[in-house]
């Protein structure tokens, strides 16, 4: 009997695939979170893009274009870190995680489901942002293979790092309802200091130093190399895109995220055992 069961027990990957499908259904059916995840970045884009539409920050570069690149980098943070750090505390509270823990679903399948959902949500969001950017704010699709390659690795490294960090950070909010109040300010502060809402080289030096410890600064810089003309590199504090450094910093955050998420993740609310 027991060997029989072991033979037919569904694989971690096949359950992971089922998790992706079910998570996506839940993600896109939840109207509030769909609005938060897709409409909000576009609204920000329209507001900032319109307010600063005439502002030239360099030759052939308006602030609007600079801002679109920053918002695409923010899209990584929204769909992974912000989304999970808010959603997982709710799942911990409403019984989702407890129910799953009582089934033969492996933990890894749960994480596969989360990562899959994050990637699909990101692709949807970035498509919307790029479309709006092309139509209204003069950005262009990447034109060289190198730019496409940079876009690809920056997105993947950024998503993996921020997904793991979101899973780890999900232990911080005390309640599901309070999660967004804890998570959103962190995202906002990073956006202010990492060259999304303001031109990075114009920020005070200490703020630049602060931001360079976190992934969003490097992500935004890599995205600017993809969506701004080559000449815009002169606007960076170092005068170049520093792509190697961007990749290294994001990779370090993948490792930090991996270690943290394994060390601190919990299925039950604090103080429940």
């Amino acid at each position: 009997m027991s060997t029989d069961v072991r033979l037919h027990i569904p694989s971690t990957v096949s359950i992971g695939r089922r998790r992706i499908i079910i998570e996506l259904k839940q993600f896109f059916r939840d109207k509030n979170s769909a609005l938060w995840n897709f409409a909000f970045p576009v609204i920000l884009l329209v507001i900032f893009g319109s307010v600063f539409s005439g502002q030239q920050i360099g030759p052939d570069i308006t602030f609007s274009r600079y801002f679109v690149a920053g918002m695409i980098a923010s899209g990584v943070l929204y769909t992974s870190f912000q989304n999970l750090a808010i959603a997982i505390p709710l799942e911990r509270e409403d019984g989702t995680l407890k129910r799953l823990r009582g089934t033969p679903m492996p933990k890894v399948s749960y994480f596969i489901g989360k990562i899959g959902t994050v990637f699909v949500a990101y692709i949807a969001q970035v498509t919307i942002l790029i479309t709006v950017g092309i139509l209204f704010y003069g950005i262009k699709l990447p034109s060289t293979a190198l730019q496409w390659f940079t876009f690809f690795w920056a997105s993947v490294l950024g998503l993996v790092a921020c997904t793991l960090l979101g899973i780890a950070f999900s232990v911080v909010p005390k309640t599901g309802r309070g999660a967004s109040a804890v998570v959103s300010p962190i995202v906002l502060v990073l956006q202010f200091t990492s060259g999304v809402f303001f031109v990075f080289s114009q920020l005070p030096h200490w703020m630049q130093v602060f931001a360079s410890f976190f992934p969003l600064k490097w992500l935004a810089q890599a995205m600017r190399s993809v969506f701004l003309p080559e000449a815009a590199a002169a606007l960076e504090p170092s005068g170049s895109w520093e792509l190697g450094m961007c990749a290294l910093m994001l990779f370090i955050w993948v490792i930090i995220g991996l270690v943290l998420s394994i060390a601190v993740f919990r299925w039950t609310p604090r103080g429940s055992n």
Partner: protein, 289 residues
């Protein structure tokens, strides 16, 4: 040894200064339906969650299907079904989506549509779970608990929020599972439910098993007095007696035939249950809360 599905031996669990479980022991045989009764805070959910693998224990031995639940693996979990108390998850999915999804976790699941039918949710299978009533929601939880064809099923207050008809349907469903040989640990507040479903019941109070027996024999129920009531001159009359048959025959002679408003009742499970809890409180020096 081989016919014990669940073994609990002197299990203790402490929350701060309070011993939530103060040495609980019982065995449940394969195919048996065993019910835990007791007031809120007696430790029913704590012992159940230890056996489900959710909680740690401070002392004692616990075994479910030959394995310590603290070291549960996937294979063990695929043979155990759990119906927890009141969850609010899965709201954005339909009944059918949820049941089909969870079927995919198990090596040998039941047919999802048959399970939906068995819990009486066929008409609601395309409804979002957030739109279900409390009782329907509970039935979904039961469906998800049995979808994996478990050998052992934990039911923690499964019929809360059911109307009487739904409760009857649920009892039939559990009867069906019993006849298939499923071992069931049932926690409930409804004594008539325990009486109908359980082969044995254990009364838990203050983290200890006060008594454990079949529903018919609990608290020497079968030996106790019977209560005979009737109407006489417009008044409600009552008699406690060890010989109810003789009492009825005497009354029948007195009324010359039919006795108005006659009832004869042995002690209900509820009566012995309450008596057991009272006795326990008295034994502890009467510090009731």
């Amino acid at each position: 040894m081989g016919d014990v599905a669940i073994r609990v031996k002197d299990v203790r669990k402490r929350y701060g200064d309070l011993w939530a479980l103060d040495g609980v022991s019982f065995d449940i045989a394969y195919g048996e339906c065993f019910s835990l009764l007791g007031p809120n805070g007696a430790g029913k959910t704590t012992i159940t969650e230890i056996l489900e693998g959710y909680r740690s224990r401070d002392a004692g031995d616990a075994e479910v299907l030959g394995i310590d639940p603290a070291h549960a693996d996937r294979e063990w979990k695929s043979r155990v079904g759990i119906v927890l108390q009141s969850d609010r998850d899965l709201g954005d999915l339909t009944v059918s989506e949820a049941v089909h999804h969870f079927a995919g976790y198990y090596p040998n699941p039941r047919n999802p549509d048959e399970v939906i039918d068995a819990v009486g949710l066929t008409e609601k299978r395309k409804s979002r779970n957030e739109k279900l009533s409390g009782g329907q929601r509970r039935r979904l939880d039961v469906a998800l608990g049995i979808i994996g064809r478990p050998s052992v099923l934990f039911l923690d207050e499964p019929t809360t929020g059911f109307d009487p008809e739904a409760r009857r349907d649920f009892w039939d469903l559990i009867d069906g599972l019993k006849s298939e040989g499923t071992t069931i640990l049932l926690t409930t507040h409804y004594l008539e439910e325990a009486e109908y479903l359980a082969d044995r019941v254990a009364v838990i109070s203050r983290g200890r098993v006060v008594e454990c027996d079949t529903p018919a024999r609990l608290g020497d129920r079968q030996k106790g007095t019977a209560r005979v009531t009737w109407l006489e001159n417009g008044h409600h009359r009552e008699l406690q007696t060890m010989a109810p048959t003789k009492a009825v025959s005497d009354l029948s002679a007195r009324f010359d035939g039919e006795i108005p408003g006659l009832t004869v009742q042995r002690a209900r499970l509820e009566d012995v249950y309450l008596a057991l809890l009272d006795g326990d409180r008295y034994a502890e020096g009467g510090d009731s809360e």
